[in-house]
């Protein structure tokens, strides 16, 4: 990449910082410069977040249709997979799969619900009602 080709588009990271990139001058010598972002990678990130939004919406609908418990919704909302939920909650992956069923979820003890609530960083009430507060 040549110095004059360093993109200075607006990326999400630009809210926090410009980032260091390496580029060559007209004699081919490398040095660093700052870039505020590159539209190509901004779009790549947008694509990922659009997909996440769709996953969250689909999960929500499944919970409303009683096809899944709110754990599915929060799993998508927190960008987790079952392995990550297992790591945070201490439940086995197979146990979590059971808890994803609405009928099983209904019967969970407060202690178990509390573990999920902590995993997703919400209150037990919010967990049950699928309520999210921006944090």
């Amino acid at each position: 990449m040549k110095k004059e080709e360093i993109p200075q588009d607006n990326g999400a990271l630009n809210k926090l910082t410009k980032e260091v990139v390496y580029a060559v001058d007209k004699d081919g010598n490398y040095s660093t410069d700052l870039s505020s972002g590159w539209e190509i990678k901004t779009t790549a990130l947008d694509v990922a977040w659009d997909d996440i939004a769709q996953r969250i919406a689909a999960a929500k609908q499944k919970v409303l249709n009683k096809e899944a418990s709110p754990i599915l919704f929060f799993m998508e909302y927190r960008l987790m997979d079952i392995a990550i939920v297992a790591a945070y909650s201490g439940f086995w992956k197979l146990t979590i799969k059971q808890h994803l069923k609405p009928a099983v979820f209904e019967k969970l003890s407060t202690e178990k619900l509390q573990r999920y609530a902590e995993t997703f960083n919400v209150t037990v009430e919010d967990l049950k009602n699928m309520t999210v507060h921006e944090d």
């Binding site: 910082t17 980032e19 260091v20 390496y22 060559v24 040095s31 190509i40 694509v47 960008l79």
Partner: protein, 337 residues
Amino acid sequence: MKTDFKHIQAAHCENGVTINLLQSIGVNKITEPLAFGIGSGLFYIYIPLLKINNGPAIAFRTQPGLIFKRTCKALDIPVVRKKFTSKPEAEKFLQQCLDTGQPVGCQVGVYYLTYFPKEYRFHFNAHNLIVYGSEGDNYLISDPVMENTTTLSRYELERVRFAKGALAPRGQIYYPKEEKIITDDVIRKAIKSGIKKNAHEMLNIPMFFIGVKGIRYTAKKIKNWRDKLGPKTAGLYLAQLVRMQEEIGTGGGGFRYIYGAFLQEAHAYLPNDILLESSKLMTQAGDLWRSAAVQAAGIYKGRIGSQADFDVMGDYLLEIAEIEKKAFESLAKIKWQ
């Protein structure tokens, strides 16, 4: 409580932590490209079957933690590295380090890293930052990818140090153990061994998804993505490839430019023309990676999307594989004086 510390911004977090910590023990000659090259940081891997964030698992650099470890080892600098099961123990140890004036590297997860923009907060647990002091209930943080230093509260720092999931940091702390004088001869030796190892890893690991072979394998996969995954998922996969290649800390072109800069800096220590020629090849490879990203963006934006467009994308990678192969083959053959 504040240690004597100067924040230097870098492209990549682990390179940045490495050079910042080395400076804290008086080693000033190791720049980011040198740390990256001596630590044999350049890599390529596409792990088959494994999925990350519902997309392909691709990396353009070596395994997290290795750059610091290898660079220190090559420079013969002993390292302290500690993991913890107990959160209070982890904080106590951190405090003790800071009390003795020692800034420390910490491995953290970014999901709860409060100063990061939300768009960047995935469950990625191999970010690195330096804690260089504390003020009241806050820790002073030098995150090398940022222009300026920042702070985290005790709770926030604990939460990211004990993030869970793949590559869980488990409170990991590391730092160079003692001050050391590094001579140019030591650096020369480290550069040679770093290049040798990097060439080996890009060319000779006998697995089809690693190094130059891995780039070719990805090319083949990409050409099949359209039929196999459908346009939407194929677009998502390409977007993930581009993010791994260009997002925070690669310096552009999937670390190929940083490596090109390293080879130029290496030439100042070891004037062998192959280093400059290979540096040019790395620049060319980086440029092609970026052209491939532009092609990929055309697809994930939905502007293009025929099989021919996927083929063009795959062919970019085949061309890149040839260039990187050529570069590392000549590097591997250098007869050092």
